[in-house]
Amino acid sequence: MATVEARRDDWVPENPEAPAGAGPWALFWRHFRRSQLAVAGSVVLVLFYGAALFAPFLSPYDVETQDRYRGFHPPTAVHFRDAGGNWRRPFVRSTELSDPMRTKYSEVEGTEHSIRWFVRGAPYRLWGVIESDIHLFGAQGDARIHIMGTDQVGRDVFSRLLHGARISLSVGLIGILITYTLGLVFGGIAGYYGGVVDNLLMRFSEILMSIPGLYLILALRAAFPADLRSDLVYLIIILILSLVYWASLARIIRGMVLSLRENEYVTAAEALGMSSIRIILRHILPNTMSFVIVAATISVPAYILGEVALSFLGAGIQEPIPSWGNMLQQAQSIRVLKSFPWILTPGVFIFLTVLAFNFLGDGLRDALDPKKIQGDA
């Protein structure tokens, strides 16, 4: 506590705007807000995670309904003027498969189906409790609106993207939670106690880290049957990724604990008769927090990309359940990729998500780094 206070005294006179006695969170927020990219990153992430949460409501169609007359339908054109050239409520036209050989669609002249908010469609159950059939938007009549086109078997790419986000985005958060719990506990114990525990842990993590990541992930995936239920595969993927990424984190935490252990306040706590677990949890680990928060933010993409890689290679989430990785699988055929490039949209969203996490992580690092705070002011 003493060091924090001393630092604040140094710092206040240089920055007259700072109200005296601003808490660490206020300081953090003031610096974080200054980084436009970090703020933009967090806005994007809130939007994406929010969209994943409300996926059934936001997506116009059911994710598993196939339509063999609508395979590889391009994104639907939205019209704003009717045949007479007058402005009207946005509408779409019905389409038909005009050239089945080359999968070309053409609009049926004269059909006008308004795009409406809150239309009734396929029934769904939100978060397993709220039953409804109201979707945010949709086209009236028998026309369909595919804002990102359809895939090979005529499923709406936008709807699948939203549902896929639930899997691909949550893998990152849950994985980080497990890895950091494991990493902090084991790294903390190894660093604090040293000796045999430390030695065993370091050798084990060294072995894990000497196997190239994706090879280890694939080998671990092979330890489970290939045809498991999708919810089990989901759990297995998270566990595998957590196990693989746990090692390097534990080593860093161990190093930090090793040096923090030498502090006088630890000796003081020991002298007061506190238990080791309490010292580790209450006095040592909190000091690693600013590192942990930044490192966790930056490593979320590794989990998302891990799931994408596994599902893309066919070892992850299986059809018909959508994930961003298995949606990209169809793009492996050159013919499909060349003629129907909208199949790549999940890739764009993976890219944007990773970018947002990197922006956020960078902003957090600047805002949490006390040296930087002094230097900037």
Binding site: L37, R203, F204, E206, I207, L208, S210, I211, P212, G213, L214, Y215, L216, L218, A219, L220, R221, A222, A223, F224, P225, P301, L305, V308, A309, F312, L313, A315, G325, L328, A331, Q332, I334, L337, K338, P341, L344, G347, V348, I350, F351, V354, L355, N358, F359, D362
Partner: protein, 321 residues
């Protein structure tokens, strides 16, 4: 130096033993083996499957299998036979390994040749338009998923026809002159190498910039300037020499990401490397092939770290070895 290398090489032995044991254990946890897929085939009799199982030692406890596998490697340099290809694992892996190494070296070369000069320029002209735009591009580069970038570049190749779509050689490869063969390979190598280099390139550039900025604030740089050395000499001979050291340590790490990343790139861009073989071995439960490729890629990773340490010791004489 010799002592360092000898120590590190000795240290490799327990690590590789640990890796092999853990991987073997993992592969045994998996239900079924290569032969259980054959059992479903009515054309193959149960007797011949049992005979094969006995020949490969699959009917024995896995610890016995492990010891046998290890013995064969140590005494006969025999990594076993690939079940699905009926070839020694060693010869299956050899070509794949060479191709992956070629891809990795090409990607590493692109990474360093581009990242270091760009990082230096960005640091020297801090806050210039070049610095700002290059750091934005670096952010994009760090964030782009390899699978997505690979698919995008294939799409570009398909649309423009400037590059071959996947593979390693053209159909008429055998008829080309030696020079033509090299060019043909380079042509095929270009896109996969660029995909593989993008992420490490972007992050090395940022690191080079950061390191150099730190060093440029040091007193000895001010001294060098004060005694009237030309700015170019100050930067190249005094600052960059120190700023590049942390990057050299990252060389091994780069190799690790290249190895992991190349698996995906190889699959998407049909590059016949170690990654594709590994994926195939996994799908067919080809135990010894899988073991061989994990061991080989891990050895490459550990050697990469060792080379990084040696390079660092050469570059920075202050580091005692």
């Amino acid at each position: 130096m010799t002592k360092l290398i000898a120590y590190r090489l000795l240290h490799m032995i327990p690590v590789l033993l640990g890796i092999s044991f853990i991987t073997f254990l993992i592969m045994q946890l998996a239900p079924g083996d290569f032969l259980s897929t054959l059992e479903l085939d009515p054309q193959i009799s149960q007797e011949s499957i049992d005979a094969m199982r006995a020949r490969f030692g699959l009917d024995q406890h896995w610890t016995v299998q492990y010891v046998l596998w290890l013995k064969n490697i140590v005494f006969h340099l025999d990594f076993g036979t690939s079940f699905s290809r009926h070839q020694p694992v060693f010869s299956v892996l050899r070509t794949g390994f060479a191709n992956t190494l070629l891809l990795g070296i090409a990607a590493a070369t692109i990474t360093w040749v581009v990242a270091v000069p760009l990082g230096i320029v960005a640091a020297v002209k801090q806050y210039s338009w070049f610095d700002k735009s290059s750091s934005l591009v670096a952010f994009l580069g760090i964030s782009v998923p390899e699978v997505f970038l690979a698919l995008l570049l294939i799409l570009l190749a398909a649309w423009t026809g400037w590059f071959p779509i996947g593979g390693m050689r053209s159909l008429n490869f055998d008829t080309l002159s030696p020079m033509g063969k090299a060019l043909d390979m380079a042509h095929h190598l270009a896109l996969p190498a660029v995909v593989l280099a993008t992420v490490p390139l972007a992050s090395r550039m940022r690191q080079m910039r950061g390191n150099l900025l730190d060093v440029l604030r040091a007193d000895y740089v001010t001294t060098a300037r004060a005694k009237g050395l030309p700015e170019g000499t100050v930067i190249v001979k005094h600052a960059v020499r120190n700023a590049i050291n942390p990057l050299i340590t990252l060389f091994g790490y780069t190799l690790a990401t290249l190895l992991s990343g190349s698996l995906l790139v190889e699959v998407v861009m049909s590059w016949p490397g170690l990654g594709r073989i590994t994926l195939e071995a996994l799908q067919t439960r080809d135990l010894y092939l899988m073991m061989g490729s994990v061991m080989l890629s891990s050895t490459m990773l550990i050697l990469g770290n060792l080379i990084a340490d040696i390079l660092l010791a050469i570059s920075d004489p202050r580091i005692k070895v």
